[in-house]
Symmetry: C2
Subunit: 623 residues, 2 copies
């Protein structure tokens, strides 16, 4: 990787920072955050402005350019990559290190008195604006919104904002019509006495209207906003996508509908002016509901007294609880995904000893097998295909420079998943194609014990996921081992592979309580720097549990694994398992045999079926 | 309990709310919070203003009196008690119920436009002021500080503020001199670049100066503030306590000292004016460190730009980590406490069958045995002595109206502790003096499994206590049982039995990480409404653990029980224990035998020793 030469670009940016065509008054600093206008985790190429100006294209980072300096804040995952990708114009600010200044402190230290700091108000979330603005003001500076994005003014070959055709999902996939979702949303709005709800997150728009798109890689979403009133529905979306007869039919755009279900389609770019009009027309006590992570621009459109901000929107919460159609779809998707992985692992077992399989080839092969399955749409995230020391890099993605060949001497970790029209998958398996060492087996077995401890946990209705995080670590902790990531995240139903508001992590506290129908991942791991990485991940469904005393009718919950892919028994030190844990593994494998075996049979994949049967032989415990 | 008649008192209060002698402008509402000026958990009689005006004397509650209404907010523990103690002038606001308005909402609903709401700025913490003030302002009202406490103006027989003699603790108890504590504090201040630190919590003043007092029941503290500068020490304290030669000697008040260790003694009441003088004299960048729970009055004394507020003060954090002298003292205190409880349980075993022992008598007897031990000072909290259904009331304290007789048919729960000059104890044991039912044993055994899971837990250095909370619940959860309180709290060293900043609870997230030397309680329970209560509580010390891999040199921690009182084996269903749990119980009892047995022997308490030996026979597991 050679760094991007940014001297000329920075010169141009510094010119537009003073150009009255773009800024009311010159700005002495300009902030370029990572995100898009919807605070998405995955962003479209046209939104990769920070990567354009700096060369650094990791998933997290904020650039700030002043007249004299250019600095980049990123976290420990990206120190090396950022240092490689940026030229000497840039100073790397290593977040998390003691001596690294915050963006605010750094700005205060370098800016001349009474400076203006500019930022695109659509890209910065309102809560971040508030914090930054306060800090700057108390040092005599001003944070100012710059309407035109200054990077866009100098990005001559900026890709177009994607505007791909949509797909409609019928009731067999969604279980609930968009009309009924609007009705449910309005009843939540009535409960909180709000008159308007602004949908800003892309997956929330997609979920609400039972539509999917392809504007962003991995996430089946499309660029749009929606504003839902008690009697109106406005959808802000561009392109001729609304000309598609299937979409028109799905949204009943040409039908005679009660006015409160008539969708007004408006240009994507008109959201701000429309919202300002809503804001200007509010009567006292008419509140507008927004996520507290919505952009500063949209939040400001509503006068402060009329805003109703919450960390999780009612759509975010409703979307997390899957209905029967969705859980059945997720089950189907996971069976197909397991078929693809049985094929892959069977293939790897034969090919790896030849020394011809690289991490990239293995990832491609995984995609190939998945794409053979019905209703396959795309991958749900960039495949983590890593062997040996690469496995210890938690967010690794193989590129030609790092691409390692799989061998019978190293552990192989594959974290991958796909979008099927009926569901989203995300599964990690750790395999050895030769003979694992006693230490590797020991570590694997602790991770497995942690995985089982979460998966088999029973807990009262209303428990928050973060309370289960330590269960995943207990066996590792007993031996002085740990892993530095959370244990699980919410998973969408043919939607984003990472979604709120629930999860299993020591890092969050504000997660919403788990309830039956929610779907999360269970993925403890262990990483030995420079040697190997181990992770065992299933997607699991929250289901009611049977308990002796049922928490005085509060209700009991537990998890059901949706992922049905064998856990390599070769890696297990059976003597470290309790009888209960042994039984869990055997019952899990029995289920893989029955369910996935039947599908392999149906698809005539006999070799993969033989592999599955061999890999799911019951564990025998030493007495 | 008959309610307190408050008609006349409320009339008087409403008069002073309009009396220009006390208020600049009439206030239309007056808030009477629970606390004192130091945000203490336990308060002195002169600070029980809310109990005085309303009759309700539970530990938590806020009264608000307007021209027309008087309302009391309290939580579920106190609904019944508050309803009994208050007359019809009062409306009970049941916190936690869906339809109960917040104080702010209620005020907004009853106040005439543009009202003033008064409160004593010394009693309300700054963070609470901020919240309340904002809510009132947005509805067109004003929260105003009323300098003179209006309750005090009508409380004609208000008890004097206690001002009891102090005791000094020498190095053998504290391990560190007050001078060295000041040096350490100043180095923390230098790190954060603050010039002043204001000590507002009573236990922090006591700890800093190695002094103890008796101004508040159960907590060995005294009314005082301190302001520590980089070169000055100011102690605000009343009475002739500073005339005591032992205190003068201890604080070196009459010695020739370097000026930065010279303590300036000032009247307790002068804190505000002195702090205002400090605030007025600050140069730019000179910050003043305060707890964010300090009173609004003291916080306001420092101009906003100069405040440095943190949830935990450096003293709170330093105090939590006990040094060798303190842990050795805590060990001694717990051995003496165990001797007293062996005597008590031996006595109860003989007396209960006679039907003459009530809950109050048992509590008195426990105090009697404790008071026979060396360096006994007082109890560390009101003894919870409860049998049968009373045991299910988590914060029960026996009073004549509820006083139940212990019997061989009911479970008895005793949660009690004492202050010794060398340490603070807090222990709960649950006993049956007849034959427990299978269900009682089952529940007890789950609680015991939870207790052991926490006590034997191994975790990496830097883990926060709240991450261990679920370990205590796992066995109960498996059967659909739970308890609705946290699992543990920090314990002071001859100081408050409840202290921050660490603990083990699902309710907190902002606790400080556990480190070796911290002391917490481990007290899971189970409560069957109307039938019985079970709790098993030890005080445990955080110690380094030996692990195979030691978290890559991050270090491993675990707990050592300081409490050494037998856990009644009669209550244990051994078949529900794992082998490891059985071994834990047997090793714990072996340690009780050795350590407490030796002390019982030394004190010539042979009958209690025989009881101890019998109660600590090893468990035998059915094969």
């Amino acid at each position: 990787m050679s760094p991007k030469i940014t001297t000329e670009l920075l010169k141009q940016l510094r010119q537009v920072m003073k150009n009255p065509k773009y800024v009311q008054e010159p700005v002495q600093a300009y902030i370029v955050p990572s995100g898009d206008a919807h605070q998405s985790e995955y962003i479209a190429p046209c939104d990769c402005r920070r990567a354009f100006i700096s060369g650094f294209d990791g998933s997290a980072g904020t650039a700030i350019v002043t007249e004299q300096h250019a600095a980049m804040w990123t976290d420990g995952r990206y120190f090396l990559q950022a240092a490689h990708q940026m030229d000497s114009n840039w100073t790397l600010m290593k977040m998390g290190l003691k001596d690294t200044p915050t963006q605010e402190d750094w700005l205060v230290s370098v800016l001349p008195e009474g400076s203006k700091v500019g930022v695109d108000p659509f890209i910065i979330p309102a809560d971040q604006w508030k914090r930054m603005s306060k800090a700057l003001r108390s040092a005599g500076h001003d944070l100012v919104p710059v309407k035109e994005n200054l990077i866009d003014t100098i990005w001559t070959d900026c890709p177009q904002r994607p505007c791909k055709p949509l797909i409609t999902l019928d009731l067999s996939y969604t279980g609930v019509s968009w009309r009924d979702k609007i009705v449910a949303l309005r009843s939540k709005m009535a409960e909180r006495k709000v008159m308007w709800f602004v949908v800003t997150a892309l997956d929330e728009v997609a979920w609400l209207f039972n539509l999917r798109g392809f504007d962003v890689e991995y996430n089946p979403v499309f660029f749009a906003y929606a504003v839902i009133g008690m009697n109106t529905i406005r959808l802000f979306i561009d392109g001729d996508r609304m000309m598609d007869p299937a979409v028109r039919e799905h949204l009943q755009l040409d039908s005679t509908l009660e006015p409160e279900f008539k969708i007004q389609v408006m240009p994507y770019g008109s959201i701000l002016s429309e919202l300002q009009a809503v804001g200007a027309g509010l009567s006292p006590k008419e509140k507008v509901w927004l996520s507290d992570k919505a952009s500063y621009a949209l939040t400001e459109a509503i006068p402060k007294a009329y805003r109703y901000l919450t960390p999780y929107t009612p759509i975010c919460i409703a979307k997390a609880v899957k209905n029967t159609a969705e859980t059945e779809g997720m089950r189907r998707a996971h069976i197909k995904d397991a078929v693809a992985l049985c094929e892959l692992f069977n293939w790897l077992e034969k090919e790896v000893p030849k020394g011809t399989v690289t991490e990239i080839l293995a990832a491609d092969k995984a995609e190939e097998f998945r794409s053979q399955q019905k209703d396959f749409v795309e991958l749900s995230f960039a495949t983590i295909s890593s062997t040996g020391p690469n496995g210890a890099i938690i967010h690794y993605k193989p590129v030609p420079e790092t691409n390692r060949t799989l061998s019978v001497n190293e552990i192989y970790l594959l974290d991958s998943g796909a979008q099927y029209k009926d569901g989203t998958t995300d599964v990690t398996r750790t395999m050895h194609f030769g003979t694992p060492s006693a230490y590797e087996k020991e570590c694997f077995t602790y991770v497995l014990k942690g995985h089982i401890a979460v998966s088999a946990a029973i807990f009262p209705n209303g428990t928050k996921g973060h309370l289960l995080d330590s269960f995943a670590r207990s066996a590792l902790w007993d031996c002085g081992l740990d892993y530095l990531h959370g244990t699980g995240h919410g998973v969408g139903s043919f939607l984003n592979v990472h979604e709120g508001p629930c999860g299993i992590s020591y890092k969050t506290f504000a997660d919403e309580p788990l309830e039956a129908g929610m779907i999360v991942s269970d993925e403890p791991g262990y990483y030995e720097d420079g040697s190997f990485g181990i992770r065992i991940e299933n997607v699991v469904l929250v289901i009611p549990a049977e308990t002796k005393y049922n928490f005085k009718n509060r209700g009991s919950l537990t998890f059901e694994p949706l992922t049905l892919v064998p856990i390599q028994t070769k890696m297990i030190d059976v003597n470290l398992l309790t009888e209960k844990e042994c039984t869990w593994v055997n019952e899990y494998h029995q289920r893989c045999r029955e369910v996935v075996g039947a599908e392999l049979e149906r698809q005539g994949r006999h070799e993969a079926l033989r592999w599955l049967l061999r890999e799911t032989e019951p564990l025998a415990r030493a007495q």
